[in-house]
């Protein structure tokens, strides 16, 4: 089983942003979330990843099947590239980091402290972390920020390989990833209606 989201309503800072979202993510499939800034894509992904509770609705996924990658990569500047990856591999109970290093062409950077990497290289390292976790469902928030065209292709290839291996991915992005097989979910229509003040007191709060 992949990921099943049913009738989900989510809030950011106490204000509902999206409501009534339902979708199912099957193994081997990818869904690309699209929508304007501030619509709630990040909030949706954080809710799916379990970092915040939904207002209503349900997120169903096999236990310990999700891995989340947000705006920041969680890279420690004073650890080397290999040490960063090894740490995440150990946390997720794996040991092999070479597949990930190869997939994102980090092999010449392994001993470099991560603080000395460029923004694009850091992002590649952040994405390589997904591979060492060995989890089937990727939940990615703007994964291609600061990547060049070549690195975007590298990422698309990694996603494609992941899908072929029975994994799945939920990706919020603004650019064309070069993944024609991915289903596009426009979240704009699910924008929450402004809350009506049904309580007299509430109008003054």
């Amino acid at each position: 089983m992949g990921l099943n989201v049913s009738d989900l309503t989510i809030a950011r800072g106490g204000i509902k942003v999206l409501e009534g979202i339902s979708f199912a993510l099957e193994p081997g499939c990818a869904i690309v979330l699209r929508g304007p800034n501030g619509i709630g894509k990040t909030t949706l992904l954080r809710t799916v990843a379990g970092l915040q509770p939904p207002v209503s609705g349900r997120v169903e996924a096999a236990p310990e099947s999700l891995v989340y990658a947000g705006h920041s990569d969680g890279i420690k500047a004073t650890l080397s590239v290999a040490e960063n990856l090894e740490f995440w591999a150990q946390v997720f109970g794996n040991s092999d980091i070479y597949v990930a290093i190869e997939a994102f062409q980090l092999d010449r950077l392994t001993t470099r402290p991560a603080g000395g990497l460029s923004a694009g290289q850091k992002r590649r390292l952040g994405l390589a972390r997904l591979l060492v976790t060995g989890r089937p469902v990727w939940v990615l928030d703007e994964p291609t920020v600061s990547l060049d065209a070549e690195a975007v292709a590298m990422f698309a290839e990694a996603v494609r390989r992941h899908l072929r291996g029975g994994g799945s991915a939920l990706i919020a992005t603004h650019i064309d990833l070069g993944l024609p097989e991915a289903e596009v979910l426009e979240v704009g229509p699910y924008r929450a209606k402004p809350a009506e003040a049904d309580d007299f007191d509430e109008a003054f709060l």
Binding site: P53, Y68, S72, D73, G74, K76, Q90, V91, F92
Partner: protein
């Protein structure tokens, strides 16, 4: 879990990790005291135990905001929260790493600093035992404070204000134990109280820290 501990220790000793900072601060506090109160060694001997405990407490405070804030800033806290480690384990490991890099060096350095304050000979054993028993609680309570203030801009001062009152019982019993040792009295009661406080905080606070952290990550 071991991986997280090793990573935290490694980060602490690498450049900018802050290892030794607390120790240096402790040293400076201890050397400043004779300048402030004058060089009468009988007066110093009387206040040495209290000064050493206060210094240990303050230098422990110095590094508290690093426990979680750095992981929050670079996003690793979000990623750790979605990793297969329970949040309680994460905060416990963080507290342990903090103790190993801050509390333990203080305990080991305390005899040397006691010498600087002409601590009477009878005071060394109870001082070291009291620090060894008390400093883990300082780290655990500090981690709770760090979890409360994580994500706040410049939360360091607020963290100190929140945590210092919670340190009061540990300071009372820790310093009392060292002082009784100096005076040659029996120090079993403060020892038991201190041990009880430490065991209680280690057993209970990680759950509170984890719950608070989950709310703060939303």
């Amino acid at each position: 879990m071991i991986a997280l501990l090793i990573r935290d220790l490694r980060l602490a000793i690498r450049a900018g990790g802050g290892f030794g900072l607390g120790l240096a601060f402790f040293l400076i506090v201890v050397t400043l005291v004779p300048f402030a109160v004058g060089p009468q060694s009988d007066l110093l001997a009387r206040i040495a135990a209290g000064i050493l405990w206060l210094g240990a407490l303050l230098s422990c405070l110095l590094s508290l905001d690093r426990i979680l804030a750095l992981d929050w800033e670079d996003g690793s806290l979000d990623l750790l929260a979605t990793a297969p480690l329970p949040m309680e384990a994460i905060v416990s490991i963080k507290a342990l790493a903090h103790w190993l890099t801050t509390g333990l060096p203080l305990v080991l350095a305390a005899p040397v600093f006691g010498l600087l304050l002409s601590l009477p000979e009878a005071g060394y054993k109870p001082l070291i035992i009291s620090l060894l028993l008390g400093t883990p609680a300082l780290s655990v309570i500090g981690t709770f404070g760090a979890a409360l203030t994580v994500g706040l801009k410049r939360g360091g001062l607020l963290l100190s204000l929140l945590v210092l009152p919670l340190y009061v019982p540990i300071l009372i019993f820790g310093a009392e134990m060292a002082r009784r040792g100096v005076d040659g009295l029996d120090y079993t009661t403060p020892l038991l109280m201190l041990a009880g406080i430490t065991c209680g905080t280690i057993a209970l606070l990680p759950f509170a820290s984890a719950a608070v952290l989950k709310v703060n990550l939303r």
